[in-house]
């Protein structure tokens, strides 16, 4: 017997029992309980009559630096990080506007790679004039957090992947070299000054 059939059997038994009580039992409280059971049993049976579908979590994806083949792949990993672990999309939109924070459409073309890196790791160091907030205070005020520190704490490789994604989605050539990525560990060669 499948789970659905088991639950259906239980639901039908509750209906039957409730019906029998309503027919033969006089005690008022018991009758009301039976009535409630019938209603609940009926509801469950209706829900069970719909094709059943559970929502499974997606397979866990690991960011494996050694397996990256080309820059495109790096960018697509960056895309996953942008919309996932890095939580960028909590605030930023790409072209749809009306986000809580600056829209990032074309940002990879507008800003240099070094500036992007600085914006992620030293977010308050230089705030672009366009993004200066004027007028009414925002409804959900937020300051750009340090992406390389807790709680988000992207690794250097992940930050580079995000930059690759930003450049790629702006129609730019990705300037992150795969050789930079493959340098493992936190002592990466990619430093702000060198970019």
């Amino acid at each position: 017997m499948t789970e659905v059939q088991l639950l259906q059997t239980i639901g039908l038994s509750v209906l039957g029992l409730g019906g029998a009580i309503l027919l033969f039992v006089k005690a008022r409280f018991v009758r009301v309980v039976a009535f409630v059971s019938i209603v609940l049993g009926g509801f469950t049976l209706v829900a069970l009559s719909i094709p059943q579908m559970a929502s499974l979590p997606p397979a866990v994806e690991k960011f494996d630096v050694t397996s990256i083949q080309d820059k495109k792949e790096l960018a697509s990993i960056g895309q996953k990080i942008f919309f996932g672990k890095a939580q960028c999309a909590l605030c930023h939109t790409i072209g749809t506007g009306e986000g809580r924070c600056p829209d990032l459409k074309g940002v990879g073309a507008k800003l240099t790679r070094g500036f992007l890196y600085e914006s992620l790791t030293q977010p308050q160091a230089y705030i672009y004039k366009d993004y200066e907030h004027v007028g009414q205070p925002k409804f959900f005020p937020a300051k750009m957090p340090y992406i390389n520190k807790k709680p988000i704490a992207l690794s250097n490789n992940e930050i580079l992947a995000v930059i690759a994604f930003l450049q790629n989605m702006s129609g730019e050539e990705v300037t992150i070299e795969l050789s930079e990525i493959e340098a493992p560990g936190p002592a990466s060669t990619a430093r702000k000054g060198e970019l």
Binding site: F35, V39, F43, A47, I50, M53, A54, S55, Q87, F140
Partner: protein, 616 residues
């Protein structure tokens, strides 16, 4: 005071002892398997992320599901009841009708016993969460610790106020009534804050905002002020009133069925009417609050919005439509039965309009329940060219649903107005003009709602959502807010032609009240599941992933079985609480039998077990 104390010493304390003994026993039965789970610790070294309980039989997620749902339903009741107990008290003071004060007190008594149980379940829930979901709890504590403190302080205040409000009821009659009303106000203020603080935790899980560095308090505040916080606060506040009202109605219905005493029947008939009235009035603005919440969710994250409305959970909203539909029908049915039975000789006059309303309601329901993606066999789907029906598919989209919901609200409101005016003859000179004006308002409103609904198909979604749906809502609110005072004004000078007769409603009216309560509870469990599973496999959406074996969202049928179980457990628990609370009063009734006879003319008071003391 004195009579009351005697009562507390005799029956009340014993009853309470029994109640607590039973609850402690319950705690043990929950704690036992918990020990079992703790016995199998995770290997030392790494921090434990999850623990499980009786996997395969119960599972940690299911246990949390049950306990959290019970806690939430009890909390809804405990927060909803003071609102209308307080309103009833005010009405009692204003109208000098002692029935309302008695009713308010009767419910505050239930409140005191339910309050302890709510806190108890809150405690169990907290322990279980700490034990079963340490990873999540560490994260949430990190973010929200200051609001935990605020919450505890609020709880102290609420408890103190509740005790003062309840135990001071009798001593604060007369000159001090104003103070008592103020206490009631405070009680509701604290209750509201007690509700919105945990709401911030739950809504943060669904719609987190980015947390930057800053003081502990700044972090907690930033997380509290998240996009769905206020929509949920408003939605839950209204829903709690609805829950309180309908449970009050169901309680009255049950008592009505079980008593043989005619005076009590009169009282409980009236109480059922009040409960149903409060429930319906809360229910009318509820869809608007829900709509606002949904809108915020879409704006926050489209993906979550689609998961809810068009994806995995879309069928859930058909179930919701069925439940709300039955609730609307049940509430209207009760009004109509009230007209038919309480106002003798009204059948001939009202059958036709009732039939019209019924047909409109059913047609609206038919539209609302028609899903966008239909359940069809392969052959049927082939004939339709997919799972969308070419003609009925138009009923499946938001434009149609919003329209019929608005029309249903209008019909229910008219049902109530009809009941209100039944058996009365307007005497004001301008009554006729007022009547015509109301008719015009209603007619125009209905036309506007329907026209906007149809037009909505031909404009971009954003226009429809931002302008059309909002206009529909405003039009309906306008109708509610103009016709209510207008009717009240007209009826002020009206003379009653047929006196309402209480206490002769048929049993099915009481069953309708019970049905309404069950529907509301079931709806809360259903939407709780929707809220929780719209996060899919995230503890905190987009931030902290659920990596436990229970990260999946169960299918609707399995979930519905749990919802039914939760509803049943909650109903039984509420019945138990009511029963315990009534134990104290029973002895009293025996001794004050004479008072009954004397009071039979003023039936309301006779039905209430305790308040003899309050009425010296």
């Amino acid at each position: 005071m004195e009579p009351y104390e005697r009562h507390w010493r005799s029956g009340g304390r014993q009853a309470r002892l029994w109640a607590y003994a039973a609850l402690v026993l319950l705690l043990f039965t929950v704690a036992a398997p918990l020990g079992l789970a703790w016995a199998q610790e995770a290997p030392a070294g790494s921090a434990t992320e999850y623990r499980d309980i009786l996997p395969g039989i119960l599972g940690s997620r299911n246990l949390i599901w049950i306990i959290a749902q019970q806690h939430l339903l009890l909390a809804g009741f405990v927060l909803g009841v003071p609102i209308f107990a307080w309103v009833c008290e005010i009405v009692g003071v204003r109208t000098r009708d002692p029935r309302y004060d008695t009713l308010a007190k009767e419910f505050t008594k239930l409140l005191t016993s339910a309050y302890a149980t709510t806190a108890l379940f809150g405690g169990i829930l907290l322990f279980l969460l700490l034990g079963l979901y340490p990873k999540l709890m560490v994260y949430l504590t990190d973010v929200f610790f200051p609001s935990f403190i605020v919450y505890s302080v609020l709880f102290l205040l609420e408890t103190a106020t509740l005790y003062l409000y309840w135990y001071g009821w009798d001593s604060m009659q007369g000159a001090k009534k104003g103070l008592h009303l103020f206490l009631g106000f405070l009680l509701n203020v604290f209750a509201f804050f007690i509700m919105i603080v945990p709401n911030s935790w739950a809504t943060f899980q669904a719609s987190p905002v980015v947390i930057t560095e800053g003081s502990m308090w700044a972090k907690a505040w930033a997380a509290t002020w998240n996009p769905t916080w206020w929509p949920v606060n408003v939605h839950r506040l209204i829903a709690n009133v609805v829950l309180g009202g309908f449970i009050c109605g169901a309680y009255a219905g049950l008592k009505y069925l079980m008593t043989q005493n005619q005076a009590e029947r009169v009282h409980y008939d009236w109480m059922g009417y009040v409960g149903n009235f409060i429930g319906v009035f809360g229910m009318l603005p509820l869809p608007f609050a829900g709509y606002w919440l949904m809108r915020e969710i879409y704006q926050y994250n489209q993906q979550m919005g689609i998961t809810l409305m068009g994806g995995f959970l879309s069928w859930l909203f058909i179930l919701q439509a069925i439940l709300i539909g039955i609730l609307f029908l049940g509430a209207n049915y009760y009004f109509w039965l009230g007209i038919m039975y309480r106002i003798p000789g009204s059948e001939a006059k009202y059958r036709k309009p009732i039939m019209t309303m019924l047909v409109i309601l059913l047609v609206c329901l038919g539209v609302w329940m028609t899903p966008h993606s239909l359940v069809a066999s392969l052959e049927e789907a082939r004939k339709m060219g997919g799972t969308h029906h070419p003609l009925l598919g138009v009923f499946g989209v938001m434009s149609a649903k919003m329209t019929v919901v608005n029309v249903m609200i209008l019909v229910t409101f008219m049902s109530f107005v009809m009941y209100w005016r039944a058996g009365k003859q307007e005497t004001a000179t301008w009554a006729k003009a007022a009547k015509i004006g109301q008719g015009v308002i209603l007619g125009v409103a209905t036309i506007v709602v329907v026209v906007l609904g149809v037009w909505g198909y031909f404009v971009p979604a954003i226009t429809r959502i931002n302008y059309f749906s909002t206009t529909q809502v405003l039009v309906v609110l306008f109708v509610l807010l103009t016709i209510t005072p207008l009717t009240a004004l007209v009826l002020k000078s009206a003379k009653t032609t047929t006196e309402m007769v209480w206490g002769i409603m048929p049993p099915r009216a009481a069953y309708a009240l019970v049905l309404n309560a069950v529907m509301v509870i079931l709806l809360m469990t259903l939407m709780g599941y929707a809220r929780s599973s719209s996060r899919v496999h995230w503890h905190v959406y987009g931030v902290m992933q659920d990596t436990s074996p229970y990260a999946y969202s169960p299918a609707l049928g399995y979930a519905a079985a749990f919802m039914s179980l939760n509803t049943f457990l909650f109903c039984l628990m509420v019945a138990f609480i009511f029963w315990v609370a009534s134990l104290g009063g029973e002895k009293k009734e025996g001794t004050s039998g004479k008072a009954h006879v004397k009071e039979a003319v003023k039936p309301a008071v006779a039905g209430a077990p305790v308040p003899a003391a309050g009425r010296r």
